[in-house]
Amino acid sequence: MTNMVDSKLPDARGYFGRFGGVFVPEVLVEALAQLERATNEAFADPAFWAEMETLLRDYVGRPSPIYHAERLVEGPHAPIVFKREDTNHTGAHKINNTVGQALLARRMGKRRLIAETGAGQHGVATATIGAKLGMQVDVYMGEVDVERQALNVYLMKLLGATVHPVGSGTRTLKDATNEAFREWAARVEDTFYVIGSVVGAHPYPYLVREFQKVIGLEARAQMLERYGRLPTDVVACVGGGSNAMGIFHAFVDDPDVRLWGVEAAGHGLQAVDTAASLNAGSVGVLHGSRSYVLQDDEGQVLDTHSVSAGLDYPGVGPEHAYLKDSGRAQYVAIDDADALAAFHHTARREGIVPALESAHAIAFAQRLATERGPGGLVLVNLSGRGDKDVRTVAALDGEDAR
């Protein structure tokens, strides 16, 4: 039995307990209020969900399967079941959210989508739906990430999007997000900002969760159908935290299901450079909401490091901060070396190349499955596939993947 929380949050002001809120310059306040009104109207409109469900089925390829990864762990262990978000169109969970936000944008009469991206998965997913709906797409991406995710940069161009490299600050996801906010402030009338995770000012953490919760709703029904019971544990990687909120949400009110968020420890939690906001950060305000932030004693946001660009972010969604403080979910951290080992191991033992982000969740799930023993049942969100990371991993292994 774990601590219970209110799964109906956020409240009217966008708070999950003491986390969340709206901390943005005045120029964006009305835009967020309009977005909130449009979101509430759309969510109450069966026609909106009907179109969403059709696109998720025919375009994204939902429902995604669950899969028993039988050869991942040796010795007595709990079965490990992957929720296969890697099988989605564009190769990750990100598209669930971009389809939803693009439909919202169209309802609101916006002609142009902007997005930040770290690993490039969210940028690709935004460019994809933009191409399908005939909308202009501009993607902001840190220069460091442009370099390490060259494949996705080219994919976005193929899809007709314009990629804007961001050279300020740490030149990664944090700065790309700053730049996307600034661009939105300048073009708020015709532009819809498609945020890629459960971060940002209200209503973004809420609406992104609502678009991603399909992962958990499907997985919960699939587990009951195949195993006749709920999983004992649900495991997902956490950067901003959208795939984790997506799979957690359907299980939050199941008291016997333990929820595990796996952050990126980078070179280690004690190291200067980590990306584990919930494990190594403190309460602060970043990108419009109050949550845990990796920051110094003066409130300056710290440089982060993770081998996975998608987790390389100094903040985390406010609902995760709420789940952490309430004890409903637990947050652990896996370092680069263990994530890379899980990446290789999953490729060799299961014939599945996971995204480096997802490899963090797998690394933790392997330990947990042994700890739980045969009585357990561990569900892991395999949030994306690893094609985009092949060049990074090859370089780390001293191989040439060009």
């Binding site: 005045e26 306040v29 600050g169 700053n178 402030a185 300048a186 990108h287 409130g299 300056q300």
Partner: protein, 270 residues
Amino acid sequence: MIASGGFDAVFARPRAERRAALIAYVVAGDPDRATTLAVIDALTAAGVDLIELGIPYGDPLADGPTIAAAAQRALDGGTRMADAIAIAAEARERGAAPILYFTYLNPIDRYGVERFAREAAASGAVGAIVPDVPLEELPAFGPPLRAAGLAIPLLIAPTTPPERAARIAAASSGFVYLVSRLGVTGARREPDVAWAASSIARLRSATTLPLAVGFGISTPAHAAAVGAVADAVIVGSALIDAYAGSRGAQAAQLAGAYARSLRGALRPHG
């Protein structure tokens, strides 16, 4: 403890001279403490009525590339909250124009809102602008600053609906800051003077506070046009550009000359 004199003193001289006030923004510690002090002295001598002193923050969402880069230079030089407050206190002791802080919520939050309020007031500052604290979050943030005698000017943007603008004006203190156009700070895009004029006309019935206009003001012509309709003209990025890359006396000379060019454009109202 230096008496701030409050905001009444800030606007007394421009009112007496029947012209708009000139408010000038610089980042504390850009690129170093001595330069900032020399620049503040020069701005004061050039007739600037209020110094907006930026406390550097590395992720300034409301700011464009010029101010973001200035903040980064200050941070790279080691300027933090206590250093910025010390610069303000020293400037006031040297007879500088009144000082108003400008920074973001996170550095104040980490420093402690009450500690910031106490030390900011003791430095002789008249208030603080915190652009990522909107009206709805003010009740949780504002009281310690107000209790310390600090004003909190609030911002109104072109996207702000009129009814909300009236509520913001009523909750503001010191002055009301009208953002002249969409976007972030910076000199690359022009102010929308017509929008500012119509907003000011509407807001006069909602507040007796001075109405200041900023964002995009970079030339004496902008200052003259905005100064003809507003109670104060705010310049930031263009001023920082005027002395970026220089230090000490040279920076002060460039900043002073630039400020004089704007101050000279603020003619008595007819």
